[in-house]
């Protein structure tokens, strides 16, 4: 399963996929000769949450809106920072402990813009992009997580 948006100039790449993610693939999608820096962030499935051992996670999304929110996020980043490429990949379906659930990569001429934009992107993704995860525990019933960044 894969839902994606890639802009014509390939400077905005947003992918929701049930396939494993690799940093190489995502950073490659933003590499450009003009860029002197690529900042990346990887979110990994932890083994424990609040003391409970996790077996695996399951992600679902409102695909159309998630891609639309990611595109808006990309535009907001460009209005604040001078960046080259923005690439955000998020897993769907089952993700095992230790696997990567999200990767963000931003390229820019200079490192500061890339680092700040990457930080902004993960904070905003957690606050508003319609993706949900359910935690399956070793010894208790599964639970839907809620990001503290979300504002109802």
């Amino acid at each position: 399963m894969e839902h994606s948006f890639i802009s014509e100039d390939r400077k905005q790449v947003f992918v929701l996929t049930s396939e494993p993610l690799t940093v190489e693939k995502v950073t490659k999608s933003v590499s450009a000769l003009e860029s002197g820096a690529i900042a990346s962030f990887c979110g990994i499935t932890r083994k424990y949450n609040q003391g409970k051992e996790i077996r695996f996670l399951e992600y679902e999304s409102y695909f159309a809106m998630a891609l639309s929110e990611l595109r808006k996020l990309g535009e907001e980043i460009r209005s604040h920072w001078k960046v080259e490429g923005i690439s955000i990949w998020h897993r769907l379906g089952r993700v095992d402990v230790g696997e990567t659930s999200v990767i963000i990569a931003v390229s820019a001429v200079h490192r500061r813009e890339a680092l700040e934009a990457c930080h902004f992107a993960i904070d905003q993704l957690k606050a508003r992009v319609p993706i949900w995860k359910k935690e399956y525990f070793v010894s208790s019933e599964p639970e839907w997580r809620e990001n503290p960044e979300f504002q109802s």
Binding site: E60, A64, M65, P130, I131, W132
Partner: protein, 88 residues
């Protein structure tokens, strides 16, 4: 003459599980706004959604919209109940 329009309510995650379905079809009058749908019609038609609506956001056709918006619903609109997200 009162005209009506049919809208779709999309459910995800905990709300989807509670309602045991991912979409609801609803016929509302042409002058129904988002606020009426969220505060009156949905809790009345689907009492099990009431608790979810309190801590959710609402999206109209893939865009977040204020729960108190006076925006009028139109035929074919998709209204999503966005329960607290947990991506990342």
């Amino acid at each position: 003459m009162t005209t009506c329009c049919e809208v779709t309510i999309l459910l995800f995650a905990s709300a989807k599980e509670a309602m045991k379905c991912s979409r609801l079809q609803l016929v509302v009058s042409h002058s129904t706004c988002v606020r009426e749908l969220v505060n009156q019609i949905l809790p009345k038609e689907y009492p099990a959604l009431t608790e979810f609506l309190k801590f959710s956001q609402i999206a109209l056709n893939c865009e977040y919209i204020d729960k108190d918006s006076n925006h009028l619903l139109q035929q074919g609109d998709e209204i999503a109940i966005i329960v607290p997200v947990s991506g990342g």
